[in-house]
Each structure stands twice: as structure tokens, then as C-alpha cells.
């Protein structure tokens, strides 16, 4: 905590049912080392109980509080206020892009979760294979079946930032493709390659790399999509030479 409080205006996107959206300003005295989510919760608690937003764990594990903060996807529970504004400044908070809005800052992620299921997204992964292959720091494989929670927290921020997801509603999206790559690398399930080898799968990505830039975890969806392309091509070539059953 710092001694000096900042005066910050939160400009919050509001929308209820079929009413037109608008931005509502709330002036708060905040500690700049507080997080954006703290400010939003204070608005809900002391200014407007009708404000709706998703949050749960407050430590970047649940992925619920992903929002657009000053135009950039942020996990609001780990985004310090001083990182996105200054004393006397403004913080514009909007719902994630490319998802239907249910109410205020809450978006409908049911389609997103369905795609993650179709990609056989893993909740836990073997520790020895839990990091990205290009990372120098890797966990030693001691032969014991250690597992840990997967890095992807299913926040949906990669889909929100993706310029292709902006225009292609049927695009499987970076999160689902990254999940398919990870599951394929661990299980060699051929059905996953068939799932992603289509116009709305790996080939729809136009290499904007925005997904990786906003990912609050260690998923690197862009790298995984490119790796998945390589796997798809390899599988296709193998099929030509009938080396693959």
C-alpha cells in the first residue's frame, strides 16, 4: 500500500437487456497499488448494486474477471491501477470483445466453453510436460505421475483480442486451438487433427499474435496454433505415403 491516494474515474460500460449501451462514470479515491477489480467491486458495493461483472478467485486462477481495460484485455484481479492510469486519470472498463454481452461487463462464454470441450481441453497435465517445449526451464521427469493444473485458465482474453475472431463467428479461436495442440501432443488423438484441419480451424489464423500478447498465463496460443499447423501438415504427408494408420 502507498500513502498517497489517487483520484481516478472509472468509466464503466453499461448495458441491460435490450437497452442501448452507455458509459457511466464513477469517481473513486484509490490506492494505486490496488487492482482494477478492487475498484469495480467498490463501485458495486458503494455506488451501484446493479452493476454486473464476473469474478471469483482474485488471484488469476479462475479466469473469470477478464475485461477490456483502456482498450486492452486484462485480467482485472492482477492489473494494478497504477499500470493503466495516473492520478486524476480515467480507466475505461468494457466487456470482452467477440462474445455476446449478457449484462454490463458479463459476456456469454457458453460457446467458448463448448469449443474447449470439443478440443478436449485438459484441466490437469503431467508436470514434466506442462511447460512449452521452447522454454529453457523445464520440470525434470522423475518417472512419478505428478500432475498440476493446466496453464490455460479459460479466461477468453485471447479470443477477445484476436482480429480474426472479430469477423469470423465460426472460427474455433486461439484458446480451443491451443487446447487441441496441447492435448494432441500428450495423447496423439488423431480426431483432434481432423477437428482443426478446416477453414475455421488452424488455417483461419492470420498471424496477428495478439492472443499470445494478452494471455495472462503461460499458454502462448499463437505458438501452439503454428505448431498444430505443422502437425496437421505432417499428418497429411504421412497419409499420402500411407505410413499412418
Amino acid at each position: 500500500m502507498t500513502d498517497r491516494l489517487w483520484h481516478v474515474t472509472f468509466s464503466i460500460y453499461r448495458k441491460k437487456a435490450d437497452q442501448p449501451p452507455f458509459y457511466q462514470d464513477f469517481s473513486l479515491e484509490v490506492d494505486p497499488d490496488e487492482y482494477v477489480l478492487d475498484g469495480i467491486e467498490r463501485i458495486w458495493a458503494f455506488h451501484d448494486r446493479s452493476l454486473t461483472f464476473r469474478h471469483a478467485c482474485h488471484h488469476s486462477t479462475c479466469g473469470a474477471c477478464g475485461m477490456l481495460v483502456n482498450g486492452v484485455e486484462k485480467l482485472t484481479c492482477i492489473t494494478p491501477i497504477r499500470e493503466v492510469t495516473k492520478d486524476g486519470g480515467k480507466i475505461r472498463v468494457e466487456p470482452l470483445r467477440n462474445f455476446p454481452i449478457l449484462s454490463d461487463l458479463v459476456v456469454d462464454m457458453s460457446e467458448f466453453y463448448l469449443r474447449m470441450e470439443q478440443a478436449h481441453a485438459l484441466q490437469v497435465v503431467p508436470v514434466a510436460q506442462s511447460t512449452l517445449p521452447y522454454e529453457s526451464l523445464r520440470f525434470p521427469d522423475d518417472g512419478l505421475p505428478h500432475e498440476r493444473l493446466n496453464d490455460c485458465i479459460e479466461c477468453g482474453m485471447c479470443v477477445s483480442a484476436c482480429p480474426i475472431a472479430l469477423t469470423a463467428a465460426n472460427y474455433q479461436g486461439p484458446a480451443a486451438l491451443a487446447a487441441a495442440q496441447q492435448t494432441y501432443s500428450l495423447t496423439s488423438e488423431k480426431s483432434l487433427l481432423a477437428l482443426v484441419d478446416c477453414a475455421d480451424g488452424v488455417w483461419r489464423c492470420h498471424s496477428g499474435f495478439e492472443c499470445t500478447a494478452v494471455c495472462p498465463s503461460n499458454v502462448d496460443p499463437a505458438w501452439r496454433i503454428m505448431e498444430l499447423r505443422r502437425q496437421v501438415i505432417r499428418h497429411r504427408i504421412k497419409r499420402i505415403f500411407r505410413q499412418d494408420g
Partner: protein, 129 residues
Amino acid sequence: MMNNQPTPGKALRWFDPRHRQPGTWAFILNRITALGLTLYLALHLIMLGKLAQGPEAYDSFIALAKTPWVKFGELLVISAGLIHGLNGIRIALTSFGIGVTVQRQLFWSFLTLALIGSAIFGYFMFFVH
């Protein structure tokens, strides 16, 4: 619940570079240069059509082509070709898993190469020929 959903009509927002990363700037540059090169191809074919209208029409076009503004336009075409082609190499490499972790550096390197190439062409176009 329809608001904020993906639609093809939002394609213009591809060209909004605010709050975006070098990957998207490259994405935007590739589309702008592609549109520019396509427009140039159409203009080029129209100009070639002058050949069919006889030597006078063609000579007047050649005189126009030597004016500084047209030369500058030609330099833009060369720059667009270099940016588009070199970024295309970057996309081809990263699309098959080569250099994905250094795609930003690849973008800046190829953009620098394109600018150096444009400067060399510009020198010869304006100061040598």
C-alpha cells in the same frame, strides 16, 4: 444479446492499430500493401493499353511517368512490394513453426530491410536516372 458478436462487417476494425502489437501492425501493413499493389496492377494494365493507342499516346504517358509525383508513386509501389514480400516470408516461416518466438524481431528486421531497399531504389530513381 447480439451486440459485440463477431461479424464480417467488422473487417474495417482490422485496420485499427490502437492498442495492438507488432503482429497486428504487420497484419495491417500486409493488407494495405496488398490493396495498393492490386490497384497498381490495374493502373499498369491501363497504361499498357496506351500502346494500342499509338506512339503519341504512349510518348505522352512516358513524359508523365518521368514527373516527380509519378516517380514517388512508383517508389511507393516498390516499398509496398518489399514490405509485402518480406513480411510474406515472415508469415510463411512462422506458419510452419519457424521463428514463432522471435516473430517481433523478424517483423522489425524485415521492415528495416524493406526501408533500406526502398531508400536504395529511391536514390537511383531520383538521383541517378
